[in-house]
Symmetry: C2
Subunit: 273 residues, 2 copies
């Protein structure tokens, strides 16, 4: 499955009576996990690992553009305006990463490398995590989200995470906080996000994913100040399709040899455990 | 001296008959090192250390904006255009940092933290440098500048570095290379830079400093594709003036106590050795 939003398999599933394995050349498998497939013995694998570092770099680019006032600099440049001002250090700022899977961990490592403090939010609270240290229960986000400069959403889309980040969470964020989404648009209540941005409940956003993609031309997010919109491409760096193909090829060799896959999707959870 | 371009001391030097010490609340001291001061016993100190990390973060923001096609994303956003495309990884790319002083070292450490390979260029070739590994002689730039994705200029302005980076160096760079200047505009032949950008000898630029500042409204750099212009602010992060004042205050206490300064400018060289 190359297209992470495709319903082709669901549509044709009735005739797929010898299906043993589905590989998604994507990180998120939400569109694939329809009930019959979840209940079946079919194995599902995904592109685990391929997108970790590219997405982490993309998140860092959003953070730096906000901290260093890059949108303002480009618009001053267009007006040929020399507008010297101070910007923000990123070292010492605090990031909350919602989603503690492989990509969330890649983001955590990259942000820590530039001296950003990270905390995780996942399916259960815990301490002593190798990448995050402390992990909060993402069901309790509104209680914990204050004090973070960057709230980064890379949660897998499941029943538990659908519209996980809504009005209550945005209201609890610092009014200077920047919300970044590189996961799935449906984990956010988009209307609440628009309201939070419009009312200054948060300071800005960097959005690569949306509940409707492409983002409709009339959507208010396109033209909001301090919002950076990119078209679901945070993980797509030169050569990405070949890397996905090579990963599938390696798994296919293992499949033919009857070996166990190094990772499979937990279909009930909706992600690789 | 708060203003790094001020000639106030030079103008008044004749009457400064009891002067013992000049502190520049800036990294570069080029405007201060007029002949009479260089020949005098007057001690010169600078803001060593204050700008290292802020400038390193700013350089990383330029690099990520170029790698992740951020200028294109913001212009697509203005046109409400969903234009999915692949961008570049920064991990594994190669940076040449021209200038091996404290700020150059800060840049090297920050870039290495995100897996960019770094090489230095300084006043003499050497290997085994703690931050750079290999350092090339910056007088031989045209011979060594090929193969770098990012050429970053943070050289102090001295007789040796004036217009150090000119037509020959730009011609030798990869046509995808991005030239970044966070040092002094006069270390570059600006006309050669404009030609290199216009003719596609290099791929882009990120420029915070210019041979004339503010950059004149009619200057061709303002409106060149793939050039990011910022107004000499790469080191200025919130609280910077207070940090400069605190550094001066600490030095002043040492001065009163008759202690040795932790660092002084080598006035003949034009920088802290």
């Amino acid at each position: 499955m190359w297209d992470f939003f495709s319903t082709a398999l669901k549509d044709a599933y009735g005739s797929a009576d010898r299906l043993g394995w589905v590989h998604a050349a994507a990180a998120g498998v939400d569109s694939l996990l329809f009930d019959e497939l979840v209940e079946s013995p079919v194995t599902v694998t995904n592109a685990r690992g391929i997108f970790d570092r590219p997405i982490a770099e993309f998140v860092l680019s959003y953070i730096l553009m906000h901290a260093k006032s890059s949108i303002g600099s480009l618009s001053d440049q267009a007006a040929k305006k020399w507008n010297r001002r101070s910007t923000r250090d990123i070292a010492g700022t605090k990031a909350l990463i919602v989603g503690t899977g492989a990509i969330g961990r890649g983001i955590a490592r990259r942000l820590k490398a530039v001296d950003i403090d990270v905390t995780g939010a996942g399916s259960r609270a815990r301490s002593g995590d190798a990448d995050f240290g402390e992990v909060i229960d993402s069901a309790t986000l509104p209680e914990h989200v204050a004090g973070f400069d960057w709230v980064i959403d890379i949660a897998p889309l499941t029943e538990k995470t659908e519209r996980l980040i809504g009005a209550e969470a945005f209201a609890a964020m610092d009014d200077t906080a920047v919300f970044i989404n590189v996961g799935r648009g449906d984990t956010v209540d988009t209307d609440a996000l628009v309201t939070a941005l419009r009312d200054g409940q948060i300071g800005g956003a960097g959005l690569d994913v949306f509940d409707e993609e492409p983002l409709p031309a009339g959507h208010p997010l396109w033209s909001m100040d301090n919002v950076i919109i990119t078209p679901h491409m945070s993980g797509d760096t030169d050569g990405w399709r070949m890397r996905l193909a090579e990963q599938f090829h390696a798994l296919f060799e293992q499949y033919l040899a009857g070996e166990q896959f190094p990772h499979t999707v937990d279909k009930k959870l909706g992600y690789v455990r």
